[in-house]
């Protein structure tokens, strides 16, 4: 990716943009209401919807920081302000930790079959009690989220400190800026210190993400089907979080191409590079999906095939395949249509639509593909969770409570991003000098 002179930027605090803030705030409020209504009427559905969205936005926000870490590790000079956009996604990481706490202490018995034993799995799987037990999961998974929250804070502080120098704001943002720029040692020394800290933190965070979110995927998704196991599943889920963060970064970059101070920064070359990342990494996502599927299909062991049977139906597990009556046979089984639609959004559309150069360089088109990819990952997260719990009910994820909770998470995520990027502000603009 094209080299450029070292990019130096300066934080430029703004106020929260009114219209988006009102819309996002309304969505967050609606989500809270939907969740409360759900708790009153159908707590299992409300908590399961909560679980899906906590996992989706949690992995996405942490993935944003992993993008920044990757840029630091490889010494990428092409991204410019793109790194700040990705970093701001990580503002939601502490919220993820809080959501993890709420989900565990509030809804675990509605989410985990082995916790409530509503399918009688505890008796069926006595040997798993050593791993699938409440205390162990709470300590390990919440510990991972807490550790990532601390590491994220340290990374963001080290990364933003040089850009925050000289920025002025009032209220909480002002106090934060003051705190994050305390004991200033001089511009050159601070820049060097920031680079040194980031170089140390980036590989560490990448490792904790890979191992930590793999464990979370095993514990909080794989265990929903307690007899199923796949050793690729952790990496598959973590990669999805990373790719969804690239799509979110791309979408936000395109939306900010006329942002005051960033005019001319979201260049065609940068959009082209972001498009290439979505294209290439969606192929890798497909590769991971296929690697998992083909081994399970070939082995044809019931303890493994159950995962695909609940999502893709029995037809995808047959030894032979034929076209006759394919639509009734395949699409007639529960969850198949949703699974295939998610697959089309996450891989088929990004792959075929971003093959050429021009689509990657066309802002509206690139943003559309990034949005489809993001929606696809939201669907995919639903498909990972719901069929394990309600294998026969294809539309279990699409009630008013479920959609309300999803919109609530979206609103909260958007608000946190906007506040951190613009008001705090992590979204620095190139220095005038």
């Amino acid at each position: 990716m094209s080299a450029a002179a070292a990019y130096v930027d300066q934080a430029s605090p703004r106020s929260l943009p009114k219209a988006p803030a009102v819309v996002l705030g309304t969505l967050a409020g609606l989500g809270l209401i939907a969740f409360i209504v759900g708790l009153a009427n159908d707590p299992a559905t409300a908590w399961r919807a909560f679980h899906v969205n906590y996992l989706y936005f949690g992995a996405l926000s942490q993935g944003g920081l992993i993008i920044a870490c990757a840029f630091v590790i490889v010494g990428a000079q092409w991204p410019g302000p793109i790194r700040r956009i990705a970093e701001a996604l990580a503002a939601f990481v502490p919220v993820t930790f809080v959501m993890g706490l709420i989900g565990w202490f509030g809804g675990a018995s509605y989410i985990y079959p082995w916790r409530a034993d509503f399918h009688g799995v505890v008796e069926a799987l006595p040997w798993k009690a050593a791993w699938l037990n409440p205390a162990r999961l709470a300590i390990v998974d919440l510990g991972v989220l807490a550790l990532l929250t601390v590491l994220t804070f340290l990374f963001l502080r080290a990364s933003l400190r040089p850009a925050l120098r000289g920025a002025t704001a009032t209220g909480f943002a002002g106090r934060m800026i003051e705190s994050w720029t305390a004991d200033w040692k001089g511009d050159a020394e601070e820049a060097a210190e920031s680079a040194r800290k980031l170089k140390n933190l980036a590989p560490l965070i990448a490792l904790v993400y890979a191992f930590g979110w793999s464990i979370i995927a095993f514990d909080q998704i794989m265990s929903l089907e307690p007899t199923w196991f796949s050793n690729l599943f952790g990496a598959y889920f973590a990669w999805g979080g990373f790719l969804s963060a690239i799509s979110a970064t791309t979408l936000l970059a395109v939306l900010h191409r006329n942002y005051p101070g960033l005019e001319g920064q979201i260049t065609t070359d940068r959009m082209h590079d972001l498009g290439k990342l979505i294209f290439a990494f969606s192929i890798f996502w497909m590769y991971l999906f296929f690697s998992q599927y083909i081994v399970i299909w070939y082995g044809n062991l019931p303890e493994e095939t159950q995962f695909f049977r609940d999502r893709l139906g029995t037809e995808f597990l047959q030894a032979t395949w034929y076209w006759e009556g394919w639509s009734e046979r395949i699409l007639g089984e529960p969850w198949v249509r949703v699974t295939l639609f998610a697959w089309v959004c996450v891989w088929v559309i990004p792959f075929w639509c971003l093959l050429g150069q021009r689509p990657k360089k066309t802002p509206w088109f690139l943003a559309t593909i990034a949005s489809i990819s993001l929606f696809g990952f939201w669907l995919e997260r639903n498909v990972l969770v719901w069929p394990s719990l309600v294998p026969e009910d294809t539309w279990a994820f699409l009630g008013s409570v479920q959609v309300g909770v999803a919109l609530g998470f979206f609103g909260l995520f958007g608000l946190v991003w906007l506040a951190f990027a613009r008001v705090f502000p992590s979204l620095a603009v190139p220095r005038a000098d």
Binding site: M1, S2, A3, A5, I73, L125, W127, K128, W131, L207, A210, F211, S214, F218, F229, S230, N231, L232, F233, G234, A235, I283, F284, Y287, L288, S291, Q292, I294, V295, I296, Y298, G299, L301, E303
Partner: protein
Amino acid sequence: MQPPPPPAPGESPINRDIMSVMDGVSPGYFMLLGACVLSVVAAGATWVYQVYEGLGIGGYTHPIFWGAYIVTFVFWVGIAHAGTLISAILYLFRAKWRNAINRSAEAMTVFAVLTAAQFLGIHVGRMWKSYFILPYPNQRGLWVNFRSPLEWDTFAISTYATISIVFFFIGLIPDLAILRDRSRGLKKLVYTALALGWQGTSTQWKSHTRSVLHLSGLATPLVLSVHSVVSWDFAMSIVPGWHATIFAPYFVAGAIFSGFAMVLTVMIPVRRIYGLEEYINDYHFENMTRFLLLTSWIVGYAYGIEYFIAWYSGVEAEQTAFWLRAFGPYWFSTWTMIICNVVIPQIFWFKKFRTHVPTIFVVSTFINIGMWFERYVIIITSLTREYDPAVWGTYTPTWAELTIFAGSFGFFGMLFLMFMKFFPVIAITEMKELAIHDRAHAAGGGH
């Protein structure tokens, strides 16, 4: 990549330095080449004897029918990955540090694939019937089994060999023209034919650049597909320790890891003997060792997750297989693998060691050893301890396997030594291009 400007006086040392490798052939070179040829002859003779006597001399007996031949096959396919990664993927990522090593890595890819391919024939025994595996209309009414991973191997490896050879050759063309212009007699004739009339015109450069870009795009998926297919030779079966969904990405990462290590193991002595320190310097070592560290962690992640899921699955055969890997009769192989591939490379967290050439040489050698043992662990421990304890057995490589194993290194070494004699080990035109870029940057020109 822009067409390079006409040669400047300051660039001639690049020709001189890099071609000194081809000119400076010493008695030591011939001794080494002789040793390689001898080991190839010994391996060839052993193979002929095996054909005469039967696969039993290769240790093929119950319960082991995949032994050191398949271990070594997987090892060499893995080695073949660094070249394509460096030439194709790092090219697409515009990583400049690849320029000093891409030529030798591409050559190693081609030689390693050629070495690996022989093991399929050696392993199946009746090598002269290898063509049975090719799907073509024939009077015998034979058709291949497309569901057999061995068949997938045939497609994967032949595709990879084709692309690797084409990639290697296309990259060589500008340098072949330089060799053509400075050689005489028969050599000139050969280089003239190989250079395909290269004159370095802007049109030719444009076509060349476009070819390399398109070939990179084609070769990139192959980096993933080839070793994934090799991994499925194992993962598709339900042998304990083999049937793992993580195998494909885990094998690919391991292949890149071992390929990079081999490039370092080979190029560090070449660099030292022929005085190429200026071209392969700290900058390259720093980046390559970081890559080793990254892939070491991916491999370590896979080791850890395999053990965890074997335990978590509750499948007794899986749990036993992994317990026996660590504490059974082959514990030595497992711990060698873990120490060489995961523990020792951690030294590269320290910058001091990332640029300390003797340390890099030693660590990369350990990685080569560890990666061979990784395949040994996967294949041997699982086959000796399958589901029924009544049919468990033990395995020790026979003299025939060890001779052919040593011969494979001799074959690879022989090809590489001959390559050093007839072709530049560092891409001359790419180094010149880099020098022009560096000078432009130093002068403040930028891009």
